[in-house]
Amino acid sequence: MSEFIDFFVGKYNYWAFILLMMIGLYAMIAKKNLAKKIIGMNIFQTAIILFYISTAAKGGGASIPIIAHGHGHGLSEHGARAADYINPLPHVLMLTAIVVSVATLGVALTLAVKVYHQYGTLEEDEIADRIRAQTGGEP
């Protein structure tokens, strides 16, 4: 039991991201409303962002990756120690991923607006009904 607790306490960040990811995946598959699917997609992407960011953390008093006293006096002679700052790379990667997910969200919403214009609804089964009514059942 205590092993399990150690395991959970040591790695709870991964548990959180997996939970979020499952919520997102469930919403994308189960929900009939296209807007809810898009929200699910966003949760799914956010889960992955959380995963990356949590890998950047360093215990033992590491600070944000901005070198202290770097202001003003050009090059600092006393080099920064890697243990004093958290890992900057995942933050950089996730800045990119956040921007990508915002961009995807924008395009998805655009298409949702177009779909709404066309069928007057965002419910998948109602859209299917409209399509069947329009084309007589052909794909």
């Binding site: 395991f7 040591g10 790695k11 709870y12 960040n13 991964y14 548990w15 997996i18 939970l19 990811m21 499952m22 919520i23 995946l25 469930y26 598959i29 189960a30 949590s54 890998t55 950047a56 953390a57 360093k58 215990g59 033992g60 590491a62 944000i64 990756p65 901005i66 070198i67 770097g70 202001h71 050009g74 090059l75 600092s76 080099g79 920064a80 120690r81 890697a82 243990a83 700052y85 890992n87 900057p88 790379l89 995942p90 933050h91 950089v92 990667l93 800045l95 990119t96 921007v99 990508v100 915002v102 961009a103 995807t104 924008g106 395009v107 919403l109 655009t110 298409l111 607006v113 177009k114």
Partner: protein, 277 residues
Amino acid sequence: MKLVALASALLCGTILLFGTAEFPDFGDPDSPAASHVSPRYIEEAMAETSAPNIVTAVLADYRGFDTLFETAVVFSAAMACFFLLRIFGEDERRPSEKLYRHLPTGITLRIDPGGKVPDSPEFERIDGIWIPHDVIVKTTTRLIIPFIQLFGLYVIAHGHHSPGGGFQGGVILGASVILYAISQNLRQALGRMGEAVSAVFCAAGVFIYAGAGALCLLMGANFLDYSGLAPLFGVDAIQARSLGILVVEIGVGLAVMSAMVWIYYNLASMGRHQEGL
């Protein structure tokens, strides 16, 4: 369908949970991620790029190529939005009727096509009958928009030393324009920052970034190697890197600001650009 979804989500989660057993613990300072590539950034970024904010240094310089395409993603999203939604020409449901409000009385006039447009400062053109004459919102936004924009510029320019940079600052600047569009109306915002302006600024922002990289090529350095720009700036290679970061951050800020505004214009008015929120 719900069962299938639940099953697949649970399956996926279980498989992923199973994998976490071998992961390094949360906050482990000796994990491979913290000990292989990243120490070099932390220890050398200041000396190599003269930017104390390591995230900015890595974002705009070490991995600047990623960021270039990140900006291009924003640009293509805005372009995609425009491409998909924009409807040119008049709205056939309400052909060019115009609404004016007489400010002292609050009466709304509807001018049908061909009618005479009132020419007096007492009249204000509005989008729809239901738009109220809201002094509170308009005054407040007028008061705070300059501060928002100032803050946006600060965030862009101060990205070397504090959290921030082109993306964050660009979004703040874009938000100020969107706030203007919400508090006044879409037509007035389009008058301040038109569609062509936002499109061309968006492309120009990415172009500043990519062009800075291409300029490095012309100077004989590798693509995006800002140290090649040292002769142009008249400084040494490390300061040139720092200035190069600033240049691309400005490009990013410009592109992101216009992209946000442009996406808002198209989404809010469903591509008609007649009346939005």
